[in-house]
């Protein structure tokens, strides 16, 4: 019987080829989207799972407020590790060092040079007790035996040495312009594919703390610890918080007497008194959680994953709805079969089995197509999300396929259940009497499904358009500087970073001699970035913490900033400007309550307050993207000794940019040989800042298009069938004198209502979601309601075109032949 059912299922598929294609293709696309997202999620959650102690392993850092500024470094003083080792037996091991370094390594074999910039980790000799990487070749602990020893990942070993055994091979490390090169010997290899790590490092070497001498304990390091099995980590960590606060107080009070035991309150008082630390707490995060979102990152991956999962679920649900809908449409054709079978003695359960078998057949075909589509799409997705997913070569392929198979079963159940029960429930008498019309029975459900589908699809389309409008605004908004052709070149050599303008002149002249360079200046940092310096300003009894930008005189002129009141720094007045003049931006003016230029402002220098004259007001420059308000900023041309001008900022001419860049690189290699020049462009930096938004906009675009396409597939099938079963009615109306327009109007009406209702729901949904999205921006456009209108109108037009296209055959058929056939 099963075989027969399968045969009938296949014949039905074949008979209704067009519907089957829509059904299967829609389902396949939905499943493909889901499989890709499963791949992504599995990858993102697959780090460090090989570590048996993973759930007992934590990263620890300090969060404190010192002199009014919150300090959120991801590191903590070496004192912490010392305290823990002495006082906490519940900790199995604690390790400190650097977790996110880089190493420029190269191999030279027979004159062939392979150069790679690899990410590195260097920690103390307890690291493998905390993070038990295992060597597949050599021994990990050997890394600590020799200063020049290094461990390397299998992937990196392949890159550097090919298939040869890397053990005892030499890697040469270039340590920049200010230190000598070093030869490193590979002592161990670990498999980074089998032991994927959140820290994603390619090489490991022992941390060398000897350079710190007596200052070691006060230096901060990345710190990782593992508790013993069965320890309540949370309560231990809060005990650590108190113990370390006290240890830190003793440390800053420089009192190591064993009898000096301050309480926590006393300790905090000491910290406030000695260091100006007003609040202090430990930040600890389980290593297992780091990848999905950490205390230190604003754009947590967990959000991305949730959004992707939601979108993929939409896609699968919509495909299921489509499937159910088209099956219900076809149910009418199957009614007779059900009636006859029941009369021949089929029980309901027989029929349910048959219809589920049919759904299963289609779903399995869809699943196979989905795998193919997913494989084809993976490279594009990698490009979009900046990941390295792969379907058939990934190590967790069986996991993904297994999960996808579960989804498939869920889909079969979801998509197949309702039609199966509807079909199996037909009453034979009614069916066999002949003029049986299922459309009346299942119409309302079908309508609800269509409305749901279109609501989701339209909401996504609107969201996409609104996001695009905001992105367009972000691309075109006046940022307060001219970001095109603005290049920042890093000065590598420490000795060249603190040159006075006069001493820098010869370098400047060499760069200006390049015909494509318009002008250049220097600053501590590039214009679109944190300047790295802060100061407290005081004016009329008010105090304000501002960002300080230490620059050269012509800085604003080169970056295209505007002085809206007063004057810019001037070369002629450099003698006074460099010691007593400052510029403030508009935000600083507003926050200080400053009404005009030429006022005296105090800058807090720790011990004393130095007075400066405000000579001008600078238009706000958006250095932090669109999420954050512009911070109050002071511009100074003072002090080359402690505020190194380590970046040269060049304004290039728009013509022949590529050759200009080549010339700059060549000239710079002459000035600073031994290192490839490091440079960036302001517009690219800016683009990177908006990249997350651009990406999510693209993701929404792809998913929105897919849902829309699948929904339209559903509509095509639905409309075609409606027209088909109304052929007789259409023919009769035609004979009674209806025009083509009348008939199309009649056939369109039902669908149009559904889509209009869906539009209304979608508008509300998109409005709520977009409002939430906009909340993340300090600078945004007003809600663009014209986008809602445009989307609604286009969807309605598309609906009318689709339904009319499908109806035309019925409308244009010859009434005589239709009625005769009846």
């Amino acid at each position: 019987m099963f075989k027969l059912n399968l045969k009938i299922a296949w014949r039905n598929l074949w008979k209704n080829k067009a519907y089957s294609v829509f059904n299967i293709f829609g389902l396949a696309v939905g499943l493909a989207g889901f499989i890709i997202i499963l791949l992504y999620i599995n990858r993102e959650q697959g780090f460090d799972k090989w570590n048996p102690a993973l759930n007992r392993t934590y990263m620890v850092a300090a969060d404190f407020t010192q002199n009014g500024a919150e300090n959120k470094g991801s590191k903590i003083k070496a004192l912490f590790a010392k305290t823990i080792e002495a006082e906490f037996p519940s900790v199995e091991a604690i390790s400190i060092g650097w977790l996110n370094g880089n190493a420029n390594l190269r191999t030279e074999t027979n004159g062939k040079v392979i150069k790679e910039k690899l990410s590195s980790v260097s920690m103390d000799d307890k690291f493998f007790a905390v993070y038990p990487l295992t060597a597949i070749n050599g021994r990990m602990q050997d890394v600590f035996r020799d200063k020049n020893a290094i461990a390397i990942s299998k992937t990196a070993a392949l890159k550097m040495f090919g298939e040869e055994n890397p053990i005892n091979k030499v890697l040469i490390q270039n340590r920049g312009l200010n230190e000598k090169e070093q030869e490193l010997v590979v002592k161990a290899v670990w498999d980074d594919k089998k032991q994927p790590s959140y820290f994603g490092f390619d090489v490991f070497y022992a941390a060398d703390f000897s350079i710190y001498g007596g200052e070691f304990l006060s230096r901060t390091f990345s710190t990782m610890l593992t508790f013993r099995d069965g320890v309540d980590a949370e309560s231990e960590l809060s005990k650590m918080n108190d113990a370390y606060t006290i240890a830190l107080a003793k440390f800053v009070a420089n009192n190591s007497d064993v009898n000096f035991k301050p309480s926590k309150q006393q300790a905090l008082a000491i910290l406030k008194d000695k260091e100006g630390i007003t609040s202090f707490k430990l930040i600890y995060e389980p290593v297992s959680d780091l990848n999905l979102g950490t205390f230190y990152s604003t754009q947590a991956k967990r959000t991305t994953i949730n959004i992707l999962l939601a979108l993929a679920s939409f896609l699968v649900i919509i495909s299921c709805i489509n499937y159910t809908n088209l099956s219900l449409v076809l149910a009418q054709k199957r009614a007779k079969e059900v009636g006859v079978k029941k009369v021949l003695g089929a029980q309901k359960i027989n029929l349910l089995k048959q219809f589920f078998a049919e759904t299963a057949l289609q779903c399995i075909i869809a699943y196979l197509f989905a795998l193919i589509i997913a494989e084809l799409l993976v490279p594009k997705v990698n490009n979009l999300l900046d990941t390295q997913l792969s379907l058939f070569s990934s190590s967790n392929i069986s996991l993904v396929l297994g999960q996808a198979l579960l989804i498939l079963l869920a889909v079969i159940a979801m998509a197949g259940a309702y039609p199966a029960f509807v079909l199996a429930g037909f009453r034979p008498v009614k069916v066999l009497k002949g003029n049986f019309n299922t459309a009346k029975h299942i119409g309302s459900l079908r309508k609800v499904l269509v409305v749901c589908q279109f609501t989701i699809a339209i909401a996504l389309v609107i969201s996409f358009m609104v996001m695009l409008a905001q992105l367009e605004f972000m691309r075109n908004k006046d940022l307060g500087l001219n970001k095109s052709q603005l290049m920042t070149l890093d000065i590598g050599n420490f000795a060249k970073r603190n040159l006075s303008p006069a001493a820098f002149q010869s370098i400047k002249d060499r760069l200006l001699a390049i015909s494509g360079v318009d002008d250049l200046t220097r600053a501590t940092e590039e214009p679109i970035n944190d300047s790295g310096f802060n100061n407290d300003l005081s004016f009329a009894g008010k105090k304000l913490n501002v960002e300080s930008r230490f620059v050269d005189v012509n800085y604003l002129k080169v970056i295209g900033g505007k002085v809206v009141e007063g004057r810019d720094f001037s070369t002629d007045l450099i003698a006074t400007d460099s010691v007593q003049s400052i510029l403030l931006n508009e935000t600083a003016f507003a926050k200080l309550g400053l009404t005009s230029v030429n006022q005296q402002i105090g800058i807090d220098h720790g011990d004393d307050i130095k007075q400066f004259n405000v000579i001008g007001k600078v238009k706000d420059i958006q250095a932090y993207g669109f999420e954050h308000e512009v911070v109050p900023t002071v511009y100074l041309v003072a002090d080359y000794q402690f505020h190194w001008r380590r970046n040269i900022i060049l304004r290039l001419k728009p013509e022949n940019i590529a050759s200009t860049i080549e010339e700059i690189k060549k000239t710079w290699m002459e000035i600073e040989p031994g290192r490839d020049p490091i440079y960036s462009f302001a517009d690219e930096t800016f683009q990177k800042m908006n990249k997350a938004y651009e990406t999510s906009n693209k993701v929404i675009f792809y998913f929105g298009s897919l849902t829309l396409i699948i929904s339209l597939f559903g509509l095509i099938g639905f409309a075609a069938y409606s027209a088909e079963i109304r052929t007789r009615e259409v023919a009769l109306r035609r004979i009674l004198g209806a025009t083509t327009a009348n008939l199309l109007n009649m056939l369109n009406k039902d669908f149009l209502w559904l889509v209009i209702i869906a539009n209304i729901f979608a508008d509300v949904l998109a409005y709520v979601y977009m409002n939430k999205w906009f909340a993340g921006f300090a600078y945004r456009i007003p809600m663009p309601f014209e986008m809602f209108f445009t989307a609604n109108l286009s969807i309605i037009v598309i609906t009318i075109l689709t339904v009319s296209w499908q109806s035309l055959r019925a409308v244009n058929s010859n009434p005589a032949s239709v009625l005769k056939a009846e």
Binding site: I8, L344, Q347
Partner: protein, 228 residues
């Protein structure tokens, strides 16, 4: 074999009962060939549907082989069709997606008859109806008469004790109709199968042994053909 007592069927519409069948009482014995006749809308088909347990009477008692059908659950009723009743329809109602042989096989599948016996019974029936050459064709590749033959073959293959036929020749030309009626007569006389048919045609009714005439839901006449 069949005993109807005071069967009534009506639809209540806004409190007004519109009767389809009223006070129908009759008995049909094993081996009879009954034709139900009457004008359109008289209730012939409803009566046949009630006999075939496709519809339930609003009131009254229906005994089929000594069992009270009105008290049966759907599952048990289906057991009854499987084992005792074969249906033949005016519109043939073959399943379009199945071949001739598969259509004939369908009722046997539901009776859970083993494969080898199914094959031999199908071969038997096909042979008897001279349709061996057509066994792999689909219904839409056959003429109306041939389709009805398949319909009858399908009803017979499960070896029912009674065949219910609703206008079996209504869609056929007279020559084909005659062939079908001859077949029914032969099945009734040689195999002893009880046959109940609804028909419009006096001529077809003559093939049977008894004619029930229904008008406005009431049995008007009940005559034996042989007695004429």
């Amino acid at each position: 074999m069949i005993k109807l007592q005071n069967i009534e069927k009506y639809y209540a519409n806004k409190g007004v009962k519109s009767y389809i069948l009223r006070h129908v009482s009759t008995e049909i014995k094993q081996g009879e060939f009954v034709s139900i006749m009457g004008p359109s809308g008289a209730g012939k088909s409803t009566l046949l549907n009630i006999l075939g347990m496709l519809e339930e009477p609003t009131y009254g008692e229906y005994n089929f082989m000594g069992e009270d059908v009105t008290a049966l659950k759907e599952r048990q009723r289906i057991e009854l069709y499987r084992n005792h009743i074969g249906f033949v329809f005016q519109a043939y109602h073959l399943i379009d997606e199945m071949t001739v042989a598969e259509n004939i096989e369908a009722p046997l599948l539901y009776k859970k008859i083993p494969g080898s016996e199914r094959k031999s019974r199908i071969a038997d029936v096909l042979d008897r109806f001279n349709m061996v050459a057509k066994k792999d064709l689909f219904p839409n590749q056959l003429s109306g008469g041939q389709q009805q033959l398949v319909g009858i073959a399908r009803a017979l293959v499960a070896q029912p004790s009674i065949i219910l036929a609703d206008e079996p020749t209504g869609n056929l030309q007279s020559a084909q109709a005659e062939q079908i009626m001859e077949l029914f007569k032969k099945l009734n006389e040689e195999d002893g199968i009880t046959i109940i048919q609804v028909t419009h045609s006096e001529k077809n009714a003559q093939y049977g042994s008894r004619i029930l005439t229904i008008e406005d839901g009431v049995i008007k006449e009940d005559i034996s053909v042989n007695g004429l």
